[in-house]
Symmetry: C3
Subunit: 440 residues, 3 copies
């Protein structure tokens, strides 16, 4: 069984996060490590074909080495869609093929389900309760799996049908089984489209040609990594699986409080009065300072959370430092620093869901709580505040005292110019009242 | 004995607090509950006549029910002064009558004192050390009570005589005994005045007509509820009377510290590292979060004081939430929220007493410490700061980073527009110095 | 042996610190106390001649009284340089003389070394590794001391030779021994110079006249007190010498944490959850509040560090108060106050060393961490922030919410005038997005 992992995507909606999506580390390991490990454990004798981009090749090789995988890497020179990705591994494909996304979080039983019935093509449909803007399966009969072993067939795929027009409650995932990989290649090569959907066109053609196309119904977890805030969803999912483990090489004060399932890696130090509420991951050499609270978060290695910080439901990339800060529901890529008293607001005063600017569009994240999204090497100065869902580009500085409502591009410095009024100070003056009157 | 409780007042100086003054909850019960309970316990066989306004009637009935009082409610349609309030209960009044304000805090022995000698009319005078702008008693001889049993008489009442012109050191309270309620009604009905003082006119006429008008001297606690900051005085008084009691249905961490007399009601949770210094009331289902300190304060039910807050000498109405805040000497009506890092300043840098705008006037509160006065449903954003004695109307928002010197009306949103300067950031620049130079 | 202590200097580069340099208290005693004590203990039968200015005389007498010194005070009317200072003690000088600066921190063995060989004149040279802009010794042969007992001679003193042109690696300190004090006076009186260097001119003349001028080589600690940030260096040096001692008259909660060598003086109180990390000095009657951390700092008497503050590597003069603040690497003269949430930033976001304006010049302090330098009686309001190396004059106020990039002169009040936008608040509006769009 060849398992094709599509890991060459560019993640253009992920700005200011610039790490290749499948290489973003969670719990001390790249996302792809977690995913390949799960697939290896659940698909016997899988031979991996990993489609990478030129930049990610080395890091992916390191992952496969650590996992002792049987693998080949194919390089997709340009990110030109799914069909192109598969075709870039053309010479490696033969026999049975399973196609998977590199980043999607799925429960492990999804693989067994799709492989349970070996039709020409088995497509996995996610059962949804409410409308999702994806591709819907048009089907007849019962699904082949997981339990039903039905004989239902896929009759077509309808892209974003609009709410109320869904042909079924099944949204197509990228968990596709093909009995004959060579045949797939043929269809992909002859698929013509001026949109980025040659893969879908090929599938439609297979259906139209009368191939035996079945579907597996899946109602477990599905978390894609399309927008930056999905990092939080993936983190939450991965944290939910951890086992409690404090490294004997970590140093945890007996006056610190650790609740729930918490991983503390070697070299990490947890000071007096610190509180860690699981599930939580504290990476190598991290410092959780006095009176600091960390909850349901992932601190990658080398982070320092100084005195009196509160880090809640946040993803914190390596080598970031904090000091008397509130960090809620934030995504911090790493090498980040915050001055004392700076706050990453995560909740609107009017309680609306939080919208994020992606490219030129405002996208509703659907979240009521979402903090800052910060690129690598960025800084937020003392007593600054960033508004929910705002983004700061790599190596940019948000100056002291700034209240930041909008995004900051890469390599910029934002300082506030205050209108200061300097007057004589004499204890005889009732200074505030006079100032207050002036403001009226 | 009929005890008339004047509970129909409108509290127009109380903005932005909009709850009927006598219904403001303290220690989990409306103010009127505390007062009626004390009166009931100290005046045998009292039959209560409560003059309410149309809006407060139901809530008052609930209070009387809980206290199992013998009572009647009279409705005063419009708040038209004390004489009108009494006359609105006209049909219920006969025989001996004691007239009391609904909100005043008085030591329990004041009732016994005024009732000790049964003249036609016994007026209670508060002994004062320094000038107070109220009505002064002009008297001869010794007071009838509490201990002296003197035969002194009241010869008149002088409104706001001005400092140095006081006819005695006794300021008239509203603790007045009348032997014949019907006679009082007659005087009130014939009292003519174009100011809001028919009650005082009626009393003057009684004195002039040669009735036996005596006075009781009182030197205990008297706390009116005229201005919002009086809420703090009443709270302090009521807290001084509490008995220590942690509900068995509350959950208090053994790593929390509780000092002095503290009430923690059922469902409340107190986390590790929290400090509660009594006297303090923590209402039902409140949360006192990690490393939070609450001192000498009243948290009504459902309040959440998250990580690292400091709530000191403050009145916090129900369902308010805090997160890394300083709340000092503040009056918060309820349903209030504060973003992380927001501060309610309670002390002027120049140490002056704090003046508060009441209507169009600036009134000196006489307090050196006074924080925010916040109406129901208001919000203060992250890293905002409100200046001492400032008021925020119901449902209004003080935006992130705002430094608020003036009052905010109802249903308003105040945002700061910062002048931000965005420049390239290059590590080669000594950026702050350059910026500093520009500011010169 | 006469020991002349030069304590009359004016410290004009020390603004806003106005206390006479040698009288700045450290560890509860004036700097001069520490220095005289060390000299007394290390130079047998020293007779002190202390050159003071008119203002410091009384305080210096009190110090000598406490130390039971054999001393005389000479008054230098105007600060007119070192020669003038010595000449103002003219009548007291005879026989052997050692000349020392009042403020320099030196290891105790420097005295023994310079006194080891009794030439006509023995000059102490500090061995330096890299260029320092001072006076360099031009020497031949080995130093007389400390260990070598060499017979080397001083041939001249070269002021600020420039890097690469140093005649030796020895920078002249003010630790000079003269066998005949009267002879020194003669040379000083005839030294002519229109710069402030008569002392150096006199020494040059002595060398030129063929006197036996030797040198002692010193490679220990030398800390001058020229710029305000040197207060931190001196503090660090003195703290490094303390012995752990908690006064039995101090009250330290058993829920506080004390690590390392810490002095807590009588009357001081340390509350629950407080953390003191030594070396640290907590003066008389200080309060270290709940959850406050103090590290490697000197808190002179009567300081109150309220809830949740972090005071790190800072010098805090008497009677200063803090409340939920970050105070890092700062020099606070005393009677200082900070509102809740105010931060004294000590680190540039771009990590450059911190430059400080001294007079009209920007001087690089060489420090990567340096906070505020605050004169006596100054204040910083709630949620204000001061930038690294900024200075605030005595009795000046930095208002709430101010982000301070420049220095504030004496007796000034700096308030920020924000541009506030007040609009209707309706829950139907997506308020932040709209505001964010406007800012674009």
């Amino acid at each position: 069984m060849k398992v094709i992992i599509l890991a060459g995507g560019e993640g253009k909606r992920m700005w200011p996060i610039q790490t290749d999506k499948c290489l973003i580390p969670f719990l001390g390991k790249p996302l792809l490590y977690h995913n390949l490990k799960k697939i290896k454990e659940n698909i016997k004798d899988a031979q991996f074909i990993i489609v990478a981009n030129p930049k990610s090749k080395d890091a992916i090789e390191e992952i496969t080495r650590q996992l002792q995988l049987s693998y080949t890497i194919a390089i997709q020179g340009q990110p030109k869609g799914m069909a192109d990705a598969i075709l870039s591994a053309k010479d490696l494909i033969e026999g049975e093929v399973l196609i998977l996304n590199a980043e999607d979080q799925l429960d492990a039983d999804v693989y067994e389900a799709v492989l349970a019935v070996k039709a020409d093509l088995v497509i996995t449909g996610l059962k949804v309760d409410k409308y999702f803007p994806g591709g819907y399966l048009k089907v007849t009969g019962d699904p082949t799996s997981p339990r039903l072993r039905g004989t239902g067939r896929v009759q077509g795929i309808v892209e974003k049908p609009g709410e109320g027009n869904e042909p079924s409650s099944l949204v197509k995932l990228v968990v596709d089984y093909f009995k004959d990989g060579k045949k797939l290649l043929g269809y992909l090569e002859s698929a013509q489209s001026d949109k980025d959907d040659q893969y879908e066109v090929a599938l439609d053609k297979m259906i139209a040609d009368g191939m035996d196309v079945r579907f597996s119904e899946y109602d477990g977890v599905w978390i894609p990594l399309k927008y930056p805030w999905h990092v939080l969803d993936i983190m939450e999912y991965l944290l939910s699986k951890i086992e409690h483990k404090i490294s004997p090489k970590a140093k945890v004060s007996d006056k610190a409080i650790i609740e729930g399932k918490v991983v503390v890696e070697e070299g990490a130090r947890v000071f007096e009065g610190a509180v860690i509420k699981g599930p939580c991951f504290i990476g190598k050499n991290c410092i959780v300072g006095n009176n600091t609270m960390v909850r349901e978060s992932d601190l990658e290695e080398g982070c320092v959370s100084g005195f009196n910080s509160d880090i809640t439901r946040s993803y914190i990339g390596a080598n970031s430092w904090f000091h008397t800060n509130y960090v809620g529901d934030s995504i911090i890529e790493g090498d980040f620093g915050m001055g004392s008293g700076a706050v990453l607001a995560n909740l609107r005063l009017d309680d609306h869901t939080i919208r994020v600017k992606i490219g030129e569009e405002m996208i509703d994240s659907g979240r009521h709580k979402l903090g800052l999204i910060a690129g690598k090497g960025s800084r937020v100065g003392v007593n600054a505040a960033t508004m929910p869902g705002v983004k700061v580009g790599p190596s940019s500085l948000v100056g002291p005292g700034v209240t930041l409502y909008g995004d900051v591009p890469d390599n910029k410095k934002v300082l506030v110019k205050q209108n200061l009024e300097v007057t004589e100070h004499s204890p005889a003056l009732t200074s505030y009242d006079q100032f207050r009157d002036k403001l009226k």
